[in-house]
């Protein structure tokens, strides 16, 4: 069973190959093949899950990928508790979203290609989680980045989509540099990049190197998971079709950063500082994401910032080390269910509303779309932590663990997580109220393409996956957390879950405190949006609480400013150059001389004499430098 686990990857990879290379010949049945391959992987994963004991990791080497001298990189898979959980999540949620896409993309002429990209994504993501070395992980890492890039830019006729795709790719590249450097450092100090060898040898290398590796891995994780300071691409990525947002930018790919840190647990266990930075990044991002989430009227952007915020929770959890690895993964799983469900619900609403995303134009949809409303409502209750639903167990467990830290850390991290729970209650309630309750504002207006709105319930092929995900949103949390089921299962892979005994707040109080704070957020939202009607246009002159929410746009501006800080200046610079140079040229304008590249370009005059001069200058410099090195 384990020996042929490469089949897990092979099914969707083959599907992608057939769909992308087969061309129009496969149009008729391409979407079915796309679903079938992912379902096949899911079934294989299930059988693997139930037929195998995961007490220890089993590595299988498929073939020797890059053997050169001392560097041996094998292409191998690692089946253990952590990877099999991810396999089930990816193929399970993936299969549901594939099925949903049959309906959602039914009008798209290129539906077959869409499924090809989705299969490519699933295959890459499986390589990412199944690889048994950091290089194999990097392979999957780049693969999902590519698939994500292609899918964000799916609507080719929208310039915003192209820009968003580019932004995502570039920000991810920044993270990738971190990951690549971490891998190179491992090779330098340990001489290998395989998990087994790295984790065995990590204890023998200088502590500074361990911290450096940990921080570089974190940079990679931040890029992929939309964590501060590399979060800005994720909301823009919502330009892609909604199933993509659900699968890639909510449930699976963006959680790869959390996976990376959980996978590298043996490294992080050795570096207190590294873990602290992870925690700080997580805590900061979860607050940032939730605050900005209040400011948008675009239903998908709100959900996107919600994702940023929820992944912040996961990062916070895995940053707590043995106290939190299992909790982070648990929240990742339940989040995979309810956030995918919320996105599919949002997609269903958009599908019914001529692809409109502005919530101010919705309202009162619950009677028109009962199934969507019900499933969305369950996802909503799960994310705000309604007692005994999924979010209640997994999110509260993280908040509890955060308060379980000693001293200032307990107060700061626990406080941030708690506060964000309240804000989550606020913005999610606002979203639900604006969309499903209140007056049917869409009756008086037309959509941007001039059509009337005729909301209707989506076809079964779309609602069925939503129902399945809703069930998961309700029950998964309890099933995973009660009795430490997930923690015990994951123990062989990430170590046993530790319980803190010196927390700043007693365990028993925290869940109810969280519920209280969330309820406050919900109540505030109801007071503002539930009791009175919402204008279709964004009101400009408004009362204090709404203005406070508006100021969160300022938070977004802050966010933009922070993006421009040193860690990213290079990317920004490149974007700047691109806008000046290429877009200008494409628009028929001459490439502007602005920007360093333009200035340097002037050196390329076309005159042989100046070329010769620059060669001479270079020669003089080289010879002078050689002589100086020698005689200094």
């Amino acid at each position: 069973m384990i020996a042929s686990s490469w089949l897990l990857v092979a099914f969707p990879a083959l599907g992608a190959l057939i769909l992308l290379a087969g061309g129009k010949r496969t149009d008729a049945w391409g979407h079915l093949l796309g679903c079938a391959t992912v379902i096949a992987s899911f079934v294989y994963g299930l059988v693997l899950f139930f037929s195998t004991s995961f007490d220890q990791a089993s590595d299988t080497t498929l073939y020797s990928w890059i053997p050169v001298g001392a560097l041996q990189v094998d292409f191998g898979l690692r089946i253990d508790a952590l990877s099999v959980i991810f396999v089930l999540l990816i193929t399970g949620v993936g299969a549901l979203i594939h099925i949903y896409s049959i309906g959602y993309m039914s009008d798209d002429a290129n539906r077959r290609r869409f499924f090809g990209y989705l299969n490519l994504f699933v295959a890459s993501m499986l390589i990412l989680v199944l690889g048994n070395s950091f290089v194999t992980l990097y392979l999957g890492w780049e693969g999902v980045g590519l698939a994500s890039y292609l899918l964000i830019g799916w609507y080719q006729d929208r310039p915003t989509a192209a820009t968003a795709a580019k932004k995502a790719f570039l920000m991810n590249r920044v993270g990738d540099v971190g990951l690549a450097l971490a891998i190179f450092l491992m090779f330098k100090y340990i001489g290998s990049t395989g998990y087994a060898e790295v984790f065995a040898g990590i204890g023998d290398i200088p502590p500074a190197a361990i911290t450096a590796i940990a921080l570089l891995l974190l940079l990679g994780a931040c890029g992929k998971s939309g964590q501060f300071p590399l979060q800005a691409w994720l909301p823009d990525a919502m330009e892609g079709p909604t199933p993509v947002s659900a699968l890639i930018h909510a449930a699976t790919m963006v959680t790869a950063g959390v996976y990376l840190i959980a996978r590298a647990a043996p490294i992080y266990n050795l570096t207190e500082d590294g873990r602290l930075v992870v925690t700080i990044v997580g805590a900061f991002t979860l607050l940032l994401g939730s605050i900005i989430g209040c400011a948008y009227d675009d239903i998908k952007k709100v959900l996107a910032y919600s994702t940023v915020s929820q992944i912040g929770y996961m990062m916070l959890a895995v940053g707590l080390g043995p106290f939190g690895y299992a909790l982070g993964i648990a929240h990742l799983l339940t989040h995979g269910f309810f956030k995918a469900g919320l996105f599919l619900g949002a997609g269903s609403v958009m599908h019914a509303m001529n692809d409109e995303v502005d919530m101010r134009k919705f309202g009162g949809l619950r009677s028109k779309m009962p199934i969507t409303f019900a499933t969305f409502g369950l996802g909503y209750l799960a994310i705000i932590g309604f007692p005994f639903l999924s979010g209640f167990f997994t999110k509260d467990a993280i908040i509890e663990a955060a308060f379980g830290q000693e001293g200032w850390r307990g107060w700061v991290f626990g406080g941030a997580a708690l506060l964000a729970a309240g804000i989550t209650g606020f913005y999610m309630t606002r979203l639900v109220l604006l969309t499903f309750f209140g007056k049917q504002r869409w009756r008086e207006i037309k959509s941007s393409d001039g059509r009337d709105f005729h909301p209707h319930e989506s076809p079964t092929v779309m609602t069925a996956p939503m129902i399945v995900l809703a069930v998961g949103s309700v029950g998964a949390g309890a099933w995973l957390i009660l009795g430490d089921r997930l923690a015990d299962f994951l123990a062989p892979a990430v170590g046993p879950l530790a319980e803190s005994e010196h927390g700043v707040l007693p365990h028993a109080i925290v869940p109810w405190l969280t519920v209280l704070i969330s309820a406050l957020g919900v109540g505030l939202a109801w007071m503002l949006f539930g009791r009175k009607e919402t204008a279709v246009e964004r009101p400009q002159n408004v009362a204090w609480p709404v203005r406070a929410a508006r100021k969160d746009l300022y938070g977004n501006a802050l966010n933009e400013t922070l993006v421009a800080t040193p860690s990213l200046w290079a990317t920004r610079f490149a974007v700047f150059l691109d806008n000046r140079g290429v877009d200008g040229a494409v628009n028929g304008l001459a490439a502007a001389l602005g920007g360093g590249s333009g200035r340097m370009r002037r050196l390329q005059t076309g005159f042989v004499r100046s070329y010769a001069l620059s060669m001479l200058g270079g020669t003089v410099l080289i010879v002078a430098a050689l002589l100086m090195v020698r005689f200094s």
């Binding site: 330098k188 140079g581 040229a585």
Partner: protein
């Protein structure tokens, strides 16, 4: 050379010649001579088929001879022709690479279906802009001299890679350069640009050759010999003038860096890549780079290993400058051929990093990188030659907007090649970068690797730009058409793409070959 030794009265000891070892080179140069005779004696209409058959046969035969020799060749290599040529494992690998790349380039050169009569001018001697010149655009003849010229250049490159003394190296440098200068000026369309490129390349090339020669002279003054091994021995002694050594090394390196289009000696690259006929650009970009870095590897490893501490810092600077120029200037290019030219400058910087790591891993990594990069860039230029409008190739980037809608296959192939240039996994570019960077890292060049990673991230941006343009932009109203490639071009592009994919997925065999042995030191 040996006839000069005739001052001794008795019979002269003849140098031993290992004909089996140098047979591939002899075949190529011999076929080039026969090609010249074809030009002289075949009637006009028979020249093209004759030359194509001869050239392809010669490359195939050289490949067979190489394959036959490799099996039984000594692992530590051998020197022949009085030690002027060193036939060792790296040389054999480079020969194989050169032959394979040249095969692809010749296929591109031979294609006459995209442009009636081929990409080469019918009468190079006619002044551009005249009535006769306009008339010849429509004619279907071409200067078939380009085939023997390509073979001469190829022979020079092979000699360059295995030259074991600096004088042989210089001769080889000229043998490979002179035909290239000429070939640059033979474009059928945009004659002025093409001739300008040829003159620029010639002038700057002569300039660089002069530097090489000065360096050679200074090194001779230092070591009393032009043999690489003798120079290495001389550096071990202590009572000589280091000024001669380092000034000589610096000037010598300038000549080599120029050929490898490493910044700041890259200035010719964009202009020449743009102006030369695209098949010739493909030949230059792929093969010249292989030869130049092959020569650099040998010179640095065999002759200057013991002084590496002194020169490495300087080459660090050169590598950084090259990556900077390539990556940053590439961002604002609006011509796709110039963009690939800047990409090649950035790649030259990456290659230099591997070249500097004088370890086994550095050698094999760089050799692998050359192989990978050569095929990718060859196929990329093959694709570029297909996108055309009424005035010839449409190389301005604005013409490439929305190309994916018109020709999805071409856009997909080009995207794949660009991803390979950017170093995305499962392409040969990733494996190449990986092996080169890890070799550099284990040889203590961590900061340089960091810088290289940053620049490769920046460079990824302008590859991506083209992808965005092809997929996410509206096609221009009077945009170019994509020619249906003939069998030759199809074969060349397929070869490049297949190798790029193969080396990304299963690089083990090529890495094994690249790491089969070091340079012969004698």
């Amino acid at each position: 050379m040996n006839v000069f030794l005739a001052q001794q009265a008795d019979r002269i000891e003849l140098p031993a010649i290992d004909y089996a070892a140098i047979l591939p080179m002899l075949i190529i140069l011999g076929a080039a001579c026969i090609g010249v005779l074809f030009e002289a004696f075949l009637p006009k209409h028979q020249r093209w088929p004759g030359q194509v058959v001869l050239t392809l046969l010669a490359i195939a035969a050289a490949g067979v001879a190489l394959g036959a020799y490799v099996g039984g060749s000594p692992a530590e290599g051998t020197t022949t022709l009085s030690g002027t040529l060193s036939i060792d494992r790296p040389a054999l690998f480079l020969w194989g690479t050169l032959l394979a790349l040249a095969l692809g380039a010749v296929l591109l050169i031979a294609d006459r279906s995209i442009e009636p009569g081929g990409a080469f001018v019918a009468q190079a001697g006619i002044a551009p802009g005249t009535v006769q010149d306009r008339a010849q655009v429509g004619s279907t003849g071409m200067q078939t001299e380009v085939f023997p010229l390509a073979l001469f250049a190829l022979g020079g490159m092979m000699a360059f890679c295995s030259a074991n003394d600096l004088l042989t190296m210089f001769i080889a440098l000229e043998v490979l350069s002179l035909p290239l200068y000429l070939m640059c000026g033979l474009a059928r369309r945009r004659r002025l640009l093409s001739q300008e490129a040829a003159v620029k390349y010639f002038l700057l090339g002569a300039f660089a050759s002069a530097f090489f020669l000065y360096g050679l002279a200074l090194l001779y003054g230092y070591a009393g010999s032009v043999k690489l091994a003798d120079i290495a021995n001389a550096t071990a002694g202590t009572d000589r003038s280091d000024t001669l050594l380092f000034a000589g090394l610096g000037l010598l390196m300038v000549g080599l860096l120029f050929k490898g289009s490493v910044g700041p000696f890259h200035t010719w690259t964009p202009d020449v890549y743009q102006g030369a006929p695209t098949p010739v650009t493909a030949f230059m970009a792929a093969c010249t780079k292989v030869a130049a870095f092959g020569g650099m590897l040998r010179v640095l490893t065999v002759a200057f290993e013991s002084t590496s501490w002194e020169w490495r810092g300087v080459l660090w600077g050169v590598a950084i400058v090259s990556m900077l120029i390539g990556a940053v200037l590439g961002l604002t290019q609006t011509d796709v051929k110039r963009m690939i030219a800047y990409s090649s400058i950035a790649h030259a910087g990456f290659l230099l990093i591997g070249t500097m790591a004088l370890t086994e891993d550095g050698l094999s990594g760089t050799l692998f990188y050359l192989l990978a990069y050569g095929f990718t860039t060859l196929a990329a230029f093959g694709v570029i030659s297909l996108v055309r409008d009424s005035t010839g190739e449409a190389t301005h980037l604005s013409a490439w907007a929305g190309l994916a809608k018109r020709s999805p296959l071409l856009a997909a192939v080009f995207t794949f090649l660009l991803l390979a240039l950017a170093g995305i996994p499962l392409t040969s570019g990733f494996v190449g970068k990986f092996v080169v960077f890890s070799a550099a890292l284990s040889d203590g060049m961590a900061p340089l690797v960091v810088i290289a990673l940053v620049f490769s991230a920046v460079a990824a941006f302008f590859y991506l730009r083209v992808v965005v343009l092809m997929y996410f932009s509206e096609p221009a109203a009077d945009g170019p058409t994509v020619s249906v490639p003939g069998a030759f071009t199809t074969a060349a592009i397929t070869l490049g793409v297949a190798v790029t994919l193969l080396l990304g997925v299963l690089p083990a065999f090529a890495l094994d070959w690249a790491g089969a042995g070091g340079f012969a030191i004698s």
